[in-house]
Amino acid sequence: MFNLIYSQNIFNKAILFSDKPKTPLIYRGLSNHFYDRMLFGEVDNTETALLNRFKVTKFPTLLIYQTHDNDIKLDDPRVIIYEGKINIHDIVAFLEKYCLPQKTYINYNEKDSLLNKEKAEVRKVNSENFRDTFSSLYERRVIVSFTKDGEFPKELNSFSKLTR
C-alpha cells in the first residue's frame, strides 16, 4: 500500500521532528485520522543531516512539505512550519488545509465498482471511427485485436458475454 501511495505521489507530507523515542500518541492518531489523505513521516533528533536540511532546532517541530496545491504539482515544494499550540483541534485545522479532501481508496473503489458492473463489449474499429471509439472509451481498459482483411475472429464474440 505504501508503495502504491508513493508511486501515486499525490499527497502533501506532514513531518514531525521529535526527541521522543516512540511516536507520540497524538501523531499516531492523526496518522490514522488523515490516512490516505496525507503522508506522515517523523524524524528523530539524531538525524542531523535532516535537521540541517529543514533548519529544525527545537523539538517537537511539525511541518508540512507541500508538493501539491489543489491538485497541481508544485515545481518547488513549500515548507510550512506549524507555529500553533500543541492542541488537537488546532493541529487538525492546520493539517486540513493541506490534505486531500477525501480518501483516495474510497474513490478508487467506487469507480472500480462501477466499472465492474459494466459488460464487456466488442466493437469493430476502422480508420473512420477509431478516434471516436477510443475517445468514448476514456479510462476503460481495452483489448485491441488486429485482424486480417477485416475478418472478425469468432473467439471475440464470447467476450461480449463476459462482465469485467
Partner: protein, 178 residues
Amino acid sequence: MKFYILLILLIHLFILSNAQNKTDDNTAVFKEVKPSIRIKSQEEYDRLMNTTDITYIMFFYKRVHKESQDVASHLVKIAAKLEYLSSIIMVDCASKYGQTLEICIDVFEKPADYPKIKILVPPEYRFNPYTKKINNHIESLWPKGTPMTEENIYTYMTVNIISRSTKLQAENLDMFTR
C-alpha cells in the same frame, strides 16, 4: 407513637424516591459520551468501517444498569481526551440495531455480564490494489477478568492506536518527499 411510625414511613418513602430518581438521572450519562457515534443499522456500521481508518471501541450497554452507567461515566472522560485519535461507538442493546446483534442477546438474561466492549483496530494496509478489496478493521473483545476502569479502558484504546507514520532518514527522505 403513630406520629413516629408515620415519620419513619415518610423518610423511607423519601429515600426510595431519591434512589429511583438517581437511577433515572444516571441514564443520561450515555448521552454525555462526546464525541461518540451511534449506529442505527448494519449499513451505517459498514459505511463507517469502509470509509474511516481510526481505532474504535464499541460499547454495548443496557441503559438502566449500574455497571453500564459506571463504565459510561469513564467513557465521558476518555472520549474527550481522544477526540480525532480514536472514537467510541455506543450501542444500546435495547435499540433496534442492538437487538439484531448477537453480542446483545444476553443483555437482559445475564445483565451481570454487561456492559461489553469490543475494540476495532484498522488494518495496516487498508486497500489492496491487486484484489481491489478493502481490508476490514480487526475486532477483539475486552479481555475477560480485566476491570473496566477509566485507566484500563484508556490504555486499551491507546495501545491499539497504530502508527502509519514513516521513520525518515537520509536514505528514504527523497522517496518520501518526491
